[in-house]
Symmetry: C2
Subunit: 447 residues, 2 copies
């Protein structure tokens, strides 16, 4: 289709590099890159009547990532946890990539998401970079081609379809035992919250649904983690608890202190020499900088490749001078003096902080060159704690004032996330589907 559109568009249209057709309505132009926890929430909190706001993102919706693992097995349906960008009024949206930022001329160059030959440029007064990061493959061969990531809804859908394929194939009586064993072996690489929550959801699915509808199928889940413990960012007691839970499950094997050396189409080679024949490899081992971040010539954190900002979230040039009208927050950046984790919580607090600054009485009237930081407080991350679901109505909660495990953590996990969803509609749908999955089980159709 893409190719044919290219053909269809006349040659002169092919590489249009249209510069800034934006209407000038006297308002300052704010361009936001990304529709995640940083970008979407920033725009949501921003008083959009004061500015001419444009959002650029290849994804036309906000995704409530903490509930993404639940959608891989159908505990929740995909569309329960997203909110279209366009539901925010007073916002111009382009489904596009940002390829280049020229902070000296205050211009960005974009490429249409669908027609990748179509380029256009936009001017800005303020640029807010919240374009996130991508899954880190650690350059392990085969990951890009054969592993399933778990960052977007399309990833969750691919995993769900693959799981259903594997269960259907494994239940065919005419295959060999060896093939059946390979089909029903699932490898999860990484011991962070996403991986562990995915293993928890998978456990629920296997115990509650697969056992019922595919009684002949026995599943093996292998979790591979390179350090000696999972949920590294949690309190060590909670980590031990979570490891105990995982080890107590008959279908789960936890392999700590183990690296993945190679991922093949149906096998994974480990650092201990073991080669596991498997039906699916789910890869969730942290983040690496996106193409855009890598291409930018700013000061960056060496370890993570994230853009360095000052404590007002302004981007820093190589010579440590500040780009006063360019902000970066969320997974793509970190304040230089206080390195922060790449979590949703940080991004949303930063987004709110920055939006509040731009909402201040006469900020929108100022010349971007004239803004001074001394009349506004620095960003200060307030860690509210962490939650992780482990499956089987149990979880771990690492809060400021308390640590909790088991059923109470699960209750807290559900309560917190249902209230944090960005719309009443989503809260209704999520509540409905939790009820539906509890009463009727998960759907095992594949299409």
């Amino acid at each position: 289709m893409l190719l044919s559109w290219t053909k269809y568009s006349s040659i002169c249209n092919r590489l249009i590099h249209t510069v800034a057709k934006q209407k000038s309505n006297g308002k300052k132009k704010v361009i936001v890159l990304g529709a995640g926890w940083g970008g979407f929430q920033f725009v949501r909190y921003l008083n959009r009547k004061k500015y001419d706001v444009t959002l650029i993102s290849p994804r036309n919706h906000f995704l409530f990532t903490p509930l993404l693992p639940s959608t891989t097995v159908g505990t929740l349906e995909f569309r329960c946890i997203i909110e279209p960008v366009r539901t925010l009024p007073n916002l111009q949206y382009y489904q596009a990539y940002c390829d280049e930022i020229s902070h000296k001329t205050n211009q960005i160059r974009c490429r249409d998401y669908f027609n990748r030959n179509k380029e256009f440029s936009l001017d800005y007064d303020y640029l807010v970079c919240c374009h996130g990061a991508q899954s880190n493959t650690f350059k392990v061969p085969g990951v890009e081609e054969h592993a399933f990531f778990l960052k977007q809804l399309s990833d969750a859908r691919a995993i769900r379809n693959r799981l259903m394929e594997l269960f259907e194939r494994a239940s065919n009586r005419f295959i060999s035992e060896e093939e059946r064993k390979a089909l029903t072996t699932f490898v999860i690489v990484g011991g962070g919250p996403t991986s562990i929550e995915f293993s928890g959801e998978l456990h629920d699915f296997i115990v509650e649904d697969v056992a019922k509808w595919f009684p002949d199928v026995k599943t093996r889940v292998i979790v591979v983690e390179s350090t000696d413990h999972i949920l590294g960012s949690f309190d060590s007691k909670l980590t031990d608890y979570a490891m105990g839970i995982l080890k107590s499950r008959s279908e789960i094997t936890l392999k700590t202190n183990t690296h993945v050396k190679h991922v093949g189409p149906n096998e994974v080679s480990l650092s201990n020499g073991e080669v596991i024949q498997c039906g699916i490899t789910v890869w969730s081992t942290g983040l690496s900088p996106s193409k855009l971040t890598s291409s930018l010539q700013f000061l960056k954190e060496e370890r993570s490749g994230r853009i360095y900002t000052n404590d007002h979230l302004q981007v820093l040039c190589d010579d440590k001078t500040t780009v006063t009208n360019m902000f970066a927050l969320g997974d793509c950046a970190t304040p230089m003096d206080h390195s922060l984790p790449a979590t949703a919580q940080v991004a949303v607090q930063q987004a709110k902080y920055l939006a509040q600054r731009l909402n201040k009485k006469d900020f929108h009237l100022k010349d971007p060159k004239d803004i001074r930081n001394d009349d506004y407080s620095k960003f200060n991350f307030n860690n509210a704690g962490m939650l992780a679901y482990l499956g089987g109505y149990g979880g771990v909660a690492d809060l400021k004032k308390a640590k909790a495990t088991g059923f109470s953590s699960w209750l807290l996990w559900r309560s917190v996330y249902i209230t944090r969803l960005v719309s009443f509609k989503n809260r209704l749908l999520v509540g409905m589907f939790w009820f539906k999955s509890f009463v009727f089980g998960r759907d095992i159709s594949r299409f």
Copy 2:
């Protein structure tokens, strides 16, 4: 993935032609082909404790087709209107194609849906063919490659994603007016219930949602029908009413007495010489026999290619002798003496009729060769009428005792279909999503 699995499987596994590993438990073996209105409903009504029942279908769920058009725009979510085959107990299911039927040896040859090199054979005592039909392209060039069909959920998902793509692209301010016009022109080919209901759902989506979230986008919908009227199977007064409704809509153009000559990637050529630049072509012009039906050497209806049966739904050989233990029903067949329309209603009545016969007191004890038709009534189709939704809370109802149009038909349409859904879970979900779409609108995310 497919290729790699082939590699992985050892050579000896590649073309396994395993014959009938089925356990013999003394029960007669019933094999059912297809999981649609015929196959799924037959199995549902069949007393499966009396038989050893196996269902073969490339689709692992039953699809409630009358509500399929609603899912193309998100009035309903995809998974509201399906029911997994495996939720029926006492049933062996294979996600596979049936390639060959040997009625003389009572054996079928199947091919795995995922690993198409994997073949296996099954024996049967009774074979029930309900494998349906496929969309009829009338051999118009380009249809197969460029048009979107509307028969399966994957078709509906593809249409939905394409529509969202087109709206997003058309809302980009940096494209030419000519390109925008092409992107927002949608062509629907065929004037049957599926096409017209799709145009109705599209109308609702455009008026209620697109107008709100894409205010700059103006849509054109062109319905092309080869005869001089739409909804040909309905009463002529209802047809006129429906045509009046369509013509009254500013975005819809109805072109009757017009054929499609060619479908390109972004254009449609009509018999009147017109060439329409468009973003999507949805093709729903009736049915043609499936590959399996075409390959079978039985008596067939010349016009439609459907398998001829007697009035007991038994398949007829070329010499008009009956294959007593092989039945055919639904879209793939028709009784020779009473040609029936290829509708869900016919299929489900036939399925029920046949299941009741097999459920009869000692039928399961008989030798298939010994069954006689004189102790069982012939199949008799009882036409309950037809319903079609036209959008804008209006429809047409062509019932035995009454004809109705407008809001009352819409109410009837919704009431009938929600009660006909095969599970309470589906009824709950459909009701919920009707409410959700009414109150919160349809989701415009694309992933």
